[in-house]
């Protein structure tokens, strides 16, 4: 293999090199830490592990096993390829060797991964000479295979979407649920935001079914590195967790190269990406390049092939037929394939071995994803390289200047909201269709404390209670988890709509449809608008987002492909789109009005500045849209859409009149400064609250009617919020610190897309004052 450092040096000799390497940071190398399980693994399992080529177990694998044996729920967050799968399979198979009935459920966010994991489980099954009939049970499982899986499979692999659909048929799975000992949730960090908040309710429904059938499964979660693994796990499942994070796997020497494509003004970012792939793969380093869209994956790999036909390089993305995917994965493992240009489809759990060089083109949105991708580099103890190509926007450019932020890892927190009334309402209806919903469950459904519910409470036969009203059952002690009141309100509303009806054994579902079909896990139910291309629903979005992104004429990006919206019917909840390659993009022009409803928390930030967390109402009017090619305005069109009004959760910063005067006296444009500061805060909020920039909205006012003072507002872009603002409030010091350094460090004079200019600004970035923003953000810093 070529020497990595000399390959890197050779880069500087290329004609297209113009100083793009902004920095090279060494990645820490580490010797392995091994440990020995005590008591030892049962012999068949120990010898199988040895046969798999694993002479010794890493410390984190043994740690997980130890907790598991004590009946604890565990979340593990060690690096990609550190043997997390083996870690949670050890306790599972130890149990399988002892028990003739125990079952386990494995949930993965993507179908492609389950097939891979099925192979792993089969290897264990055969090696241990057990008959467990591991099987994938998902949307692709043929109807004639399903009954047998339900009856005899003791290891079932599925995904949340499927689980959501099959829960009402739990009686067909009696054996399985009654004996469910373990529930494994892999890639847990993907369960955040709207999706995660829905999955958290789904897991509560699963636990409810288990309780009914007399089991209380232990949970093992695996996640990329995040700031709040334990909190995420506990919110997702409602159970107490221990966290295993000390990675015992070895790592060779590695370097993180920060590549700023803007240093070469004459060559586009994508062409530079192609050059980098060609350079490293051509030098003998097996390379995977992650790009943000399917189209780019195809395009860049085609360019590489055109330039260097003898180089074996292939694109990889979701949507390929399984055989094609397998052959690419096999090519990577065998080394026959020298390079792959991929979307994030290759990021999750797919076993492709480790590589010499990973190129990450554009920040993938979260550090968790970044390190999942980067973690593919480094084969055993050999040298490896991670190249980060920073795109032109504020976030990417900020990261190029502050690699420490990347190296720090685990900075961002996955947010989940357990109180969003829409999400709760949908799942309450689903739950009531699975088993009658009892009054005490309303108080306790999200019960985080497994002790409060034991298996001997299970009633296989429901005898009628004395009264005809589920309300009269004595409520159990209030749980610590928020939400009983939200759940009760949801039930009341459903009752009013004749969807739930009270009976002596609890509320039963009496709606007109199968509620599981109505509740989408990746949308907030009541306002889900289906985006339809060629008669196929490609995604769903809530009403607000549809008005913002799927108005007639809009260019919509879906998985990197461009679609043009033909019609938006808000009543039919449907947007018709057409797949079309266009070289322009569109941008809605909106006017937003905000009204503060209730302050829940408040604290002083600096002299004359407070931050509050609370509820507010946003009214958005979409008046038109701009058509732009690159950054060139081509046209402006009017839009005729009804205003969207929605309640949500937000934070607001209120400045005293003195602060404003002080800055103004220094000759600052205070209004422009507030606006610029708002942009910087919103641009970096995803780094703190692990969300998409599109999930957040905001506004800034020289004088805000509800406070009569200068105010900056940042809010969750979803009705009733999904937990982002709560996180921003809690982590505000961190957010204001990085926002301040983003703007202060930027070399531009008057603000640029890399700091305070937002491509999504409804006011076309007017007025904007970068220097005042630095002063304002500086005053937000905690003193001392």
């Amino acid at each position: 293999m070529a020497d990595i450092l000399s390959t890197l040096d050779a880069l500087r000799q290329q004609r297209w090199y113009a100083g793009q390497i902004a920095d090279i940071e060494p990645l820490p190398s580490r010797a392995p830490t091994y440990a020995v399980p005590d008591p030892a693994l049962p012999e068949p399992l120990a010898s199988l592990v040895r046969k798999m080529g694993i002479p010794e177990l890493y410390s984190h694998q043994v740690a997980l096993l130890g907790h598991a044996r004590l009946g604890r729920n565990v979340i593990i967050t060690t690096a990609t390829a550190s043997g997390k799968t083996l870690a949670f399979n050890l306790p599972v198979f130890e149990t399988m060797l002892e028990s003739r009935t125990a079952t386990a459920l494995y949930l993965y966010p993507m179908k492609a991964v389950t097939q891979d994991q099925l192979k792993v489980l089969k290897r264990f099954e055969q090696g241990l000479e057990l008959e467990l009939h591991p099987a994938v049970y998902d949307g692709d499982t043929p109807a004639d295979k399903r009954p047998r899986i339900r009856q005899r499979s003791r290891l079932v692999l599925s995904n949340p979407y499927e689980l959501h659909q099959i829960l009402p048929y739990h009686y067909q799975w009696q054996q399985f649920y009654r004996n469910l000992r373990y529930c494994i949730i892999d890639e847990a960090h993907t369960y955040r935001g709207v999706f995660g908040s829905n999955v958290a309710q789904l897991i509560r429904r699963l636990r409810r079914i288990c309780t009914y059938h007399g089991s209380n499964p232990q949970f093992f979660l695996a996640s990329a590195s995040i700031a709040n693994p334990q909190e995420l796990a506990e919110k997702l499942t409602g159970k107490e967790f221990v966290h295993v994070g000390d990675d015992g796997a070895p790592r060779g020497r590695g370097w993180l190269v920060l590549w700023n494509p803007l240093a070469n003004e004459n060559m586009s970012i994508h062409v530079q990406t192609q050059h980098l792939v060609t350079h490293f793969a051509g030098a003998g380093l097996q390379t995977v390049c992650f790009v943000p869209s399917r189209r780019l994956a195809e395009l860049i790999s085609r360019w590489v092939k055109e330039r260097t036909p003898e180089l074996a390089v292939s694109p990889y993305r979701a949507g390929y037929i399984p055989e094609d995917r397998r052959s690419i994965e096999a090519g990577l493992s065998s080394g026959a394939l020298r390079g792959v240009v991929s979307t994030d489809a290759l990021e999750l759990g797919i076993d492709i071995g480790s590589l010499d060089c990973i190129i990450i083109a554009g920040f993938p949105g979260t550090f968790a994803s970044f390190w999942q991708q980067a973690g593919r580099a480094g084969r055993k103890l050999q040298d490896s390289l991670v190249v980060f190509i920073g795109y032109a926007d504020a976030l990417n450019q900020y990261l190029l200047r502050n690699p420490a932020l990347i190296l720090e890892r685990g900075f961002e927190a996955a947010v989940i909201d357990l109180t969003n009334p829409y999400i709760i309402k949908g799942h309450m209806a689903c739950a009531a269709s699975e088993l009658p919903l009892r009054r005490e469950e309303i108080d306790d459904a999200a019960n985080p404390n497994p002790k409060a519910r034991t298996t001997n409470e299970v009633r296989m036969t429901n005898a009628p209670t004395t009264s005809g009203n589920p309300e009269s059952a004595a409520p159990s002690p209030k749980s610590l988890v928020p939400g009983p009141d939200v759940r009760l309100a949801a039930v009341r509303e459903l009752e009013k709509e004749l969807i739930l009806r009270p009976t002596p054994v609890g509320w039963i579902y009496a709606g007109r449809t199968r509620p599981q079909e109505e509740v989408a896990l990746d949308a907030i139910e009541e306002s889900a608008i289906e985006v339809v291309a060629d008669g196929r629903v490609i995604e769903t979005m809530d009403r607000t987002r549809a008005c913002r992104e799927a108005y007639p004429g809009a260019v919509l990006l879906h998985q990197g492909e461009t679609y043009v919206v033909k019609a938006l019917d808000l009543e039919q909840q449907r947007a018709e789109v057409e797949r079309k390659d266009v070289d322009f993009h569109t941008q809605v022009i909106q006017r937003e009005e905000m009204r503060l409803l209730e302050t829940q928390l408040q604290r002083q930030l600096g002299p004359g500045i407070t931050i509050s967390l609370g509820r507010l109402e946003v009214t958005a009017t979409y008046t038109g849209y701009r058509v732009k090619k690159y950054d060139q305005l081509i046209a402006t069109h009017p839009l005729d859409l009804p205003p969207v009004k929605f309640p949500t959760v937000g934070i607001w910063l209120v400045f005293s009149g003195e602060t404003a005067l002080e800055l103004q006296e220094q000759g600052c444009d205070f209004t422009g400064g507030l606006h610029a500061a708002e942009h910087a805060l919103i641009a970096l909020a995803p780094l703190v609250a692990m969300c998409d920039p599109r999930d957040i909205g905001g506004g800034s006012y020289r004088m805000f009617p509800d406070t009569m003072l200068p105010t900056i507002i940042v809010y969750d872009g979803y009705e009733h919020g999904i937990g982002i603002s709560e996180k921003l409030y809690a982590e505000f010091d961190r957010l204001s610190r990085i926002a301040h350094s983003l703007v202060a460090q930027c070399a531009c004079e008057r603000g640029c897309p890399a700091c305070v200019l937002s491509p999504r600004c409804g006011d076309a970035n007017e007025p904007i004052d970068k220097q005042t923003a630095v002063a304002i953000l500086g005053r937000l810093q905690p003193t001392g």
Binding site: P168, H170, Y171, A463, P464, L498, R501, T503, A510, P515
Partner: protein, 337 residues
């Protein structure tokens, strides 16, 4: 042939052709007018059934009539003549056995290889073990083979339970609102009991009642019950956590009708069988898909008039089960004569 008289059960919502409502909304309006403020018991005279799980409402009607079913002697004879019922005997073997003089199961009892199984089938026939015989025939011939229906001849009147459900949807997470059950009584009587959910708290008691009756009868007769009624009942019972004993023999007439009349008929819905085979057309019948809507209307308004067409529809369905059963038996006995 004596059949149950369906005319007796014609829905009495204005059968007079002049005033017949022609649209659903007019029908609704008429129901509202005719029954508004009328007490439940007056709209549908019946009684309240109580059990350990609560109570529900019951309408009972008794009529004279009987069930034409397979002839016991003939069924036995037919089955004893079917050597292909024995595992391992296909057409080739059958021809060879015939040459060797093994023409019936009785002959085969002397055969070195097939004696055991032929003896077992004879004994099953003698014991009237239709549960096992249904499986034997189903596995060797077809589950909808005429001789399966012929097994009905081996049963006593009191074994039969005819069942039809009205539900709030096709998904077993939705409630059951009416269950119609017909039984054959002594002295050529047929009793139709309809259990009605006055509001959802009644459903559990209704289920318990229906499950008890299913458990007490050896033979269940339904139309499309293998795909719908029985799985639905199973799902609802599981939902409430009460047991349901699966019936020993289940004649799902849909499958027999398909076999008997496919090709001759446009569809095999109960409605089209009624029209083409029984010569019945329902004058004012509530289409099944409107059941949930009318039930909601009843719940919202408290006007039992909206429940009445559901109950009438259900009664007609149950009555038709008996008549379709008879027609099938007649169809096949006529053909084989």
């Amino acid at each position: 042939m004596r059949t149950f008289d369906p005319d007796k059960y014609e829905p009495d919502v204005d059968p007079d052709s002049d005033g017949r409502p022609d649209t659903v909304s007019a029908f609704r309006e008429q129901l509202r007018r005719d029954y508004e403020g009328m007490p439940f018991e007056k709209v549908m005279p019946g009684d309240v059934v109580e059990n350990d799980f609560g109570s529900c409402y019951r309408l009972t009607a008794t009529s004279r009539g009987g069930l034409r079913r397979g002839d016991a002697g003939r069924t036995r004879k037919d089955l004893l003549g079917s050597v292909s019922l024995i595992r391992g005997i296909r057409s080739k073997t059958q021809a060879r056995l015939k040459e060797q003089g093994f023409k019936t199961l009785a002959d085969l009892e002397n055969h070195p290889r097939f004696s055991g199984e032929s003896k077992r089938i004879r004994e099953l026939l003698e014991a009237g073990s239709t549960e096992e015989l249904t499986e034997v025939i189903g596995a060797r011939l077809s589950k909808s083979h005429p001789s399966v229906l012929g097994l009905s001849g081996l049963h006593a009147d009191s074994d039969f339970l005819f069942l039809d459900l009205e539900t709030m949807g096709l998904f077993a997470g939705q409630p059951l609102v009416v269950a119609g059950i017909a039984r054959l009584g002594p002295d050529n009587t047929i009793t139709v009991d309809q259990y009605v959910v006055r509001d959802f708290p009644d459903e559990l008691a209704l289920l318990a009642e229906v499950n008890r009756q299913v458990a007490e009868h050896r033979v269940l007769v339904t139309y499309n019950g293998k795909s719908f009624d029985l799985p639905f009942l199973t799902g609802r019972s599981a939902y409430y956590g009460i047991g349901l004993k699966q019936p020993g023999v289940h004649f799902d007439l849909l499958h027999f009708c398909r076999r008997a009349w496919r090709g001759e008929l446009e569809g095999c819905s109960l409605r089209s069988i009624e029209q083409s085979i029984l010569g019945i057309s329902r004058e004012t019948d509530l289409p099944g898909e409107l059941v949930p809507e009318f039930y909601y209307e009843y719940l919202r308004t408290g006007n039992a008039g909206f429940l009445k067409p559901i109950v009438d529809h259900n009664r007609q369905d149950v009555v038709s089960l008996i008549n379709v059963f008879a027609s099938l038996v007649e169809h096949w006995s006529a053909r084989s004569e």
